[in-house]
């Protein structure tokens, strides 16, 4: 009976690992990058993570936000930041620089600030 108990505990500990990896920022740079661009696709609160797209120079960046409920708690509702608005964002960009993708910590539009991941600022 003890081996069942022991292997169950080991399995539960192992099961926690991928969940941590998924929500960790393993694929992103340690350094924080700041970008200023114009919104081409506003905040979407659908899917596993909220998203938006901004254009910086000639590149369209995919901004990955927090899970939808957390993003909404940070004040970012759909339609709040209109397409064409200028925003400044900070976050950790993808380790693969060929991808213009960033996990977003903070967004500022005009004087309005959105703290998506305050603990990472």
């Amino acid at each position: 009976m003890t081996w069942i108990l022991r292997s169950s505990i080991a399995a539960m500990m192992l099961a926690g690992v991928p969940a941590y990896a998924h929500h960790g920022w393993g694929g992103q740079e340690e350094a924080v990058t700041s970008l200023t661009g114009t919104v081409v696709e506003g905040v979407s609160l659908a899917g596993p993570h909220a998203t938006m797209k901004i254009k910086v120079g000639n590149d369209v960046w995919d901004l990955t936000l927090a899970p939808p409920a957390r993003t909404e708690r940070a004040g970012l509702k759909e339609g709040l930041i209109p397409v064409g608005a200028t925003v400044m964002v900070r976050g950790n960009r993808n380790l693969d620089h060929a991808k213009h993708e960033m996990k977003t910590i903070y967004i500022k539009q005009g004087s309005t600030e959105y703290h998506v991941y305050p603990d990472r600022e």
């Binding site: 998924h22 979407s44 659908a46 899917g47 998203t51 939808p68 409920a69 993003t71």
Partner: protein, 161 residues
């Protein structure tokens, strides 16, 4: 292929799923996981029995409830999986795991069909199986585990690509 993905994303089902609120993806994802639990949990018990575990349990006693629960799990997984993939389908363009997952499911279903139409499977409801019949079903069980585990593994990895 990108065309098909864009069509799925812009389908009425995609728009409807996206409109359901901030918890909807999590809830649909939960239904998908529950479906997979029912499907694979049942399949694992049946397949291990076909591979020689728990010989004291008559196969016909085990095969009915496990098959029923697996069917319910599969239906739940499909009904939750389709709306989930329509939410942001174009995000999956170039994701290789989709092209492992869906062929693996297709192979798993072909295997189910082949096993169920085999004389050995038909016979197990009414009598003890001959060694050759047991080997036939054990082979089907081995294929089943490989195909379903491949489908589940590649399905999980879609989000990590």
């Amino acid at each position: 292929m990108a065309h098909v993905f864009a069509w799925l994303e812009h389908s009425p089902l995609g728009a409807f799923t996206r409109s359901l609120g901030v918890w909807s993806y999590g809830v649909i994802n939960l239904a998908h996981i529950l479906g997979i639990i029912l499907l694979f949990g049942s399949i694992l018990i049946l397949d291990l029995r076909l591979l020689g575990a728990w010989r004291q349990v008559p196969l016909a006693v085990l095969s009915r409830p496990t098959t029923t629960m697996a069917v319910i799990g599969f239906i739940l997984a499909v009904c939750s999986g389709i709306p989930m993939i329509t939410v942001k389908t174009t995000d999956y363009i170039g994701n290789p795991f989709l092209f492992i997952k869906f062929p693996a499911i297709a192979l798993a279903l072909v295997n189910v069909w082949l096993v169920h139409r085999s004389p050995a499977w038909q016979a197990h409801f009414t009598r003890d199986l001959l060694p050759a019949e047991r080997r036939r079903l054990a082979r089907g069980a081995a294929f089943s585990l490989v195909f379903w585990l491949t489908a589940i593994t590649s399905g999980r990895m879609i989000g990590y690509w």
